[in-house]
């Protein structure tokens, strides 16, 4: 299906509307995880295999788990889901309606919606003795440790200071 990337991006927007309509945070976390999975599939569709893996591991596997059990600490007795109460349901319906109208408007234009999102493909190296094969995005991310040496050092130091700050905050000054 030629429209698969567009359909996935529409599903991404619908997932974002799902947690932006602010239900109780445990349901918001669920919508964020679903949006994350859809976003990861979008990235994979465009050839970003390494970036999709990083997003799955670090983002969904790490941060959402932390969000999950932190939210479990701050939960109330009757969490508010999308069907309970008019505010959340109204926000969700307005967002979905807006997205449907936008999709119909875009499809009614006579432009070429079937865009050729060709992936990065594999970069074949012809140099020296023999030939090799590299993936574009993993090589690009690997350049972080080559051209961006100082950035890695600064980011590492920042994270260390950040962890120290987190410990001090939780300890209560």
């Amino acid at each position: 299906m030629a429209y698969v990337l567009f359909t996935l991006s529409v599903l991404l927007v619908m997932g974002f509307v799902g947690f932006s309509s602010k239900p109780s945070p445990i349901y918001g976390g669920l919508a964020l995880i679903v949006s994350g999975v859809v976003g990861c599939v979008i990235v994979l569709n465009c050839g970003g295999v390494y970036m999709g893996l990083v997003m799955f591991l670090v983002y969904l596997g790490g941060m959402m788990v932390v969000f999950g059990y932190t939210t479990a600490m701050a939960i109330e007795e009757y969490p508010e889901t999308w069907g309970s109460g008019l505010e959340v349901l109204g926000g969700l319906l307005v967002g979905l309606m807006m997205e449907v109208v936008l999709v119909l408007w875009v499809l009614s234009l006579d432009e070429t919606v079937v865009v050729s999102f060709s992936d990065t493909g594999d970069w074949v190296i012809f140099e020296g003795e023999g030939s090799g094969l590299i993936r574009g995005d993993s090589i690009g991310a690997g350049a972080l440790y080559d051209y961006g040496r100082w950035l890695v050092v600064v980011a590492g130091w920042t994270l260390f200071v950040g962890v120290y700050i987190v410990i001090e905050i939780v300890r209560g000054n």
Binding site: K22, G28, V166
Partner: protein
């Protein structure tokens, strides 16, 4: 404007609106902040793939790293609020009294 890029920017805007409006919980705004970071990650990764410019891939990774750090600090504040007030309701934050 390619419709997929339009949808991803729309997702960013929807998360931004969700973060700026408060209902009862504070952690819901943190979730919307996470959504913003995720949409930025997807956007920059798609641009790096479609322009065949692999070096841009450094930016989403660094963005994700600092977003994780920011999440940790936000959750730590949430925990300290939850320890003081019991729940993270926004109307509990009334020290400023304005």
């Amino acid at each position: 404007m390619t419709p997929t890029y339009m949808n991803i920017m729309l997702a960013f805007t929807i998360s931004l609106l969700g973060m700026l409006t408060y209902r009862s919980h504070l952690v819901a705004s943190l979730l919307c902040l996470e959504g913003m970071m995720m949409s930025l990650f997807i956007m920059t990764t798609l641009i790096a793939s479609n322009m065949h410019f692999p070096l841009i891939n450094i930016m989403p990774i660094i963005l994700l790293v600092f977003a994780a750090c920011e999440t940790a600090v936000g959750l730590a504040l949430l925990i300290s609020i939850s320890n003081t007030y019991g729940l993270d309701y926004v109307h509990n934050l009334n020290l400023l009294q304005c």
